[in-house]
Amino acid sequence: MKKSKTKNKVYRILIITFFIVLAIIILLPFWAIFVGTFQEGSMLVRYGLNLTLDFSEANLDNYIMLFTDSGSYFRWFLNSVVLTVMQVVGTLFISSFVAYGFSVYEFKFKNAIFLCVILIMSVPFEMLMLPLYVQINDMNLSDTYIAILLPFLAHASTIFFFRQYLSGIPMEIIEAGRIDGSSEFGIFFKLILPIMKPSFAAMAILNGMNSWNNFLWPLLVLRSSDNYTLPIGLNTLMTPYGNDYDLLIVGSFFSVLPILILFLCFQKYFIEGMTAGAVKG
C-alpha cells in the first residue's frame, strides 16, 4: 500500500513537470515576440528572435513609432475593429433568423435546403475562393467591405449551431405568442431572440475570431491600402525589397494583445465558441 502511494507521488510529479514544461514551450514564441518588440528590426533579421533581452540594446523605438507614426497601422487596426463588429452583429442576426426558420417550420424542400447548409460546412472555403472571387469582380464589388461580409452573413456553421440550440425551445412559447396575436416575425424578435442570448456568446466569439484573423478572402478582395485590415496590412510590411520588421513585430504583438486580454476574461466562452462544431456525444 505504502509503495503504491510513493509510486503515485512520483507519477504525479512527473505529470506536473511535463505539463509545466510543455506549457512553457508553447508559450515561448509569445515571449520571444514580446522581447522582439524592444529590438531593432535589422537586428532581428540578422540574429533572429531572442529569449533574453539585452538591456544595453533594448529601446522603445518600435513602440514610439507605432504610437506616433501617422502611418497606416491604426487605420488598419480601426478597419479590423469595424469589420469584425459588422461581421459579428450581421452574422448573429441573419444566421439566427435563418436558423429559426429551419427549426420551427415544416415546409417544402426544407430537408433539401438544409442539406445545402451542411454541404457548405463541409467544403473548405479555399476550394471555392476563385469562383467567389470571379463573382465579386463581376458584381463590381471588389475592394469593398460588402464583398467581404455579404457571402458569409448567412453563415452555415452558425446557422447549424443555432438550429441545434433552438430545437430545445418549447413550441408552447411560439403558440402563446400566436394566441396573443403577434406576427411570426414579432414572435421571433420579441420572444425568441431574448431566449437565444446564451448561445450568442459562443458564436460571437467564433465569428469574431474568424473575422479578426481572416486573411485569405480579404487578401483577394481588398486593393487599396486605406481599406486594409490588420492581417493584410501586416503582410504588406514584408516586401521582396526588404522587410519592415520594426513595425511588423510590434504590430503583430499589438494585434494579438486585444484577443489575449479578451481570452483571459472570457476563457469559457472562447473555448465553447471555438470548439462549438464538435458533435455532442
Binding site: Y47, F102, I113, V123, M127, P131, A154
Partner: protein, 298 residues
C-alpha cells in the same frame, strides 16, 4: 403586399430567404460560372472555348501533381500528429493527476496559440526557423551538438517547420474537443470496469476509445479538410507563394498562383473544379465509412 409578408404560409420561406439567396448568388452561380470558365481560354477582352484541353494540361502538369503530393503529405502528417497526441494530453488532463490550477494553466496555455492569426504565427515561426546560427531553432539543436540548418531551404526541414507551426496552433483546440468528449463519458462505466479488475490500458481501449468515436470522427474530418486546404501557413512561412523548388506549394497555393498571380483564369478554374471533385469524393467516402461504422454498432 403586407398581407403576403405577414401571412403564416410565407413566413418560413422569408426566414430562410437570406440563406437561399446567399447560396444561389455566392455558391451555385459562381461554381457554374467557373465550370464554364474551366473549358475556356480566358484572355483579356476575349474568351475562346477550348473544351477539355485545360484538364488535359492539368493531367500532364508536373507542378500540379507536386502540389497535390505536398497537400496530401501534409494532411497525413497532421492526422498522425494532431489526433493521437491531443487525445493522450486530454486523457492526462481529465485524469486530474495535477491539481486544479496547474491543470487549467496547462489547458489555457495550449489553447492560446489558436488565437493568433496565421500572419502573426507565420512571422514568428519564420524567425524561429531562420537560417542564421543565432536563430532559436538552430540555437536549440546546437545544444545537442548539431550544426545549423537552413530550415526553410530543404524539403524535409521545411516540412518539419510547417508541421511544428500546425502542432503549435492546433494542439490545444484538438485537446479541448477530446476533453469535452471525455467529460461526457459516464463515470459509472469506469467504476464498473474497476470492479471487474480492468487495468488502465483495458479501460482506455474498451471504454474511452469507443466512447470518443464521435469526437474522433469529427476531428478527423476537420483535419482532413484543413490539411488539404492548407495554404496561408506556407504562404506566410515562405513570405509568399514561391518556396525553393516549390517545397511548400500546396493545391490551394497552386490555385492561387494560376488564378491570381498568373491570371490564367480558365486553367485555374480547371484546377478548382478538379479540387472540388476531390473534396466531394472524400466527403462521400467518409460518409459511407462512418455510416457503415454505425451499422456495425447496431
Amino acid at each position: 403586399m403586407k398581407k403576403i409578408i405577414y401571412s403564416k404560409k410565407a413566413a418560413p420561406y422569408l426566414f430562410i430567404l437570406p440563406f437561399v439567396l446567399t447560396f444561389a448568388i455566392f455558391w451555385i452561380v459562381p461554381i457554374i460560372k467557373s465550370g464554364i470558365m474551366s473549358m475556356e481560354k480566358v484572355l483579356p477582352g476575349q474568351t475562346n472555348f477550348v473544351g477539355l484541353s485545360n484538364f488535359k494540361r492539368l493531367y500532364n502538369d508536373r507542378i500540379f501533381w507536386l502540389a497535390v503530393t505536398n497537400s496530401f503529405k501534409y494532411m497525413i502528417f497532421t492526422l498522425i500528429l494532431l489526433i493521437p497526441i491531443p487525445m493522450v494530453l486530454a486523457c492526462m488532463v481529465n485524469a486530474k493527476v495535477a491539481k486544479g490550477k496547474i491543470n487549467s494553466f496547462f489547458k489555457s496555455s495550449l489553447f492560446v496559440p489558436a488565437l493568433t492569426s496565421v500572419v502573426v504565427a507565420g512571422t514568428i515561426f519564420r524567425l524561429i526557423f531562420g537560417e542564421m546560427d543565432t536563430s532559436l531553432m538552430n540555437k536549440f539543436i546546437a545544444m545537442f551538438g548539431f550544426e545549423s540548418i537552413k530550415w526553410l531551404k530543404g524539403a524535409v526541414t521545411g516540412f518539419a517547420a510547417l508541421l511544428t507551426l500546425a502542432c503549435w496552433r492546433w494542439f490545444g483546440v484538438n485537446m479541448m474537443y477530446f476533453l469535452s468528449g471525455l467529460q461526457s463519458i459516464p463515470e459509472e462505466y469506469y467504476e464498473a470496469a474497476s470492479v471487474d479488475g480492468a487495468t488502465t490500458w483495458q479501460r482506455f481501449i474498451h471504454i474511452t476509445l469507443p466512447q470518443l468515436k464521435p469526437t474522433i470522427v469529427y476531428v478527423l474530418t476537420i483535419s482532413i479538410y484543413g490539411g488539404l486546404s492548407m495554404f496561408i501557413e506556407s504562404y506566410m512561412l515562405w513570405q509568399g507563394n514561391n518556396s525553393p523548388q516549390n517545397i511548400g506549394l500546396t493545391i490551394v497555393g497552386y490555385l492561387y498562383r494560376q488564378g491570381i498571380e498568373k491570371n490564367d483564369m480558365g486553367y485555374a478554374c480547371a484546377v478548382g473544379i478538379t479540387l472540388l471533385v476531390f473534396v466531394l469524393v472524400i466527403n462521400i467516402v467518409q460518409l459511407t465509412l462512418t455510416g457503415t461504422f454505425k451499422k456495425e454498432e447496431k
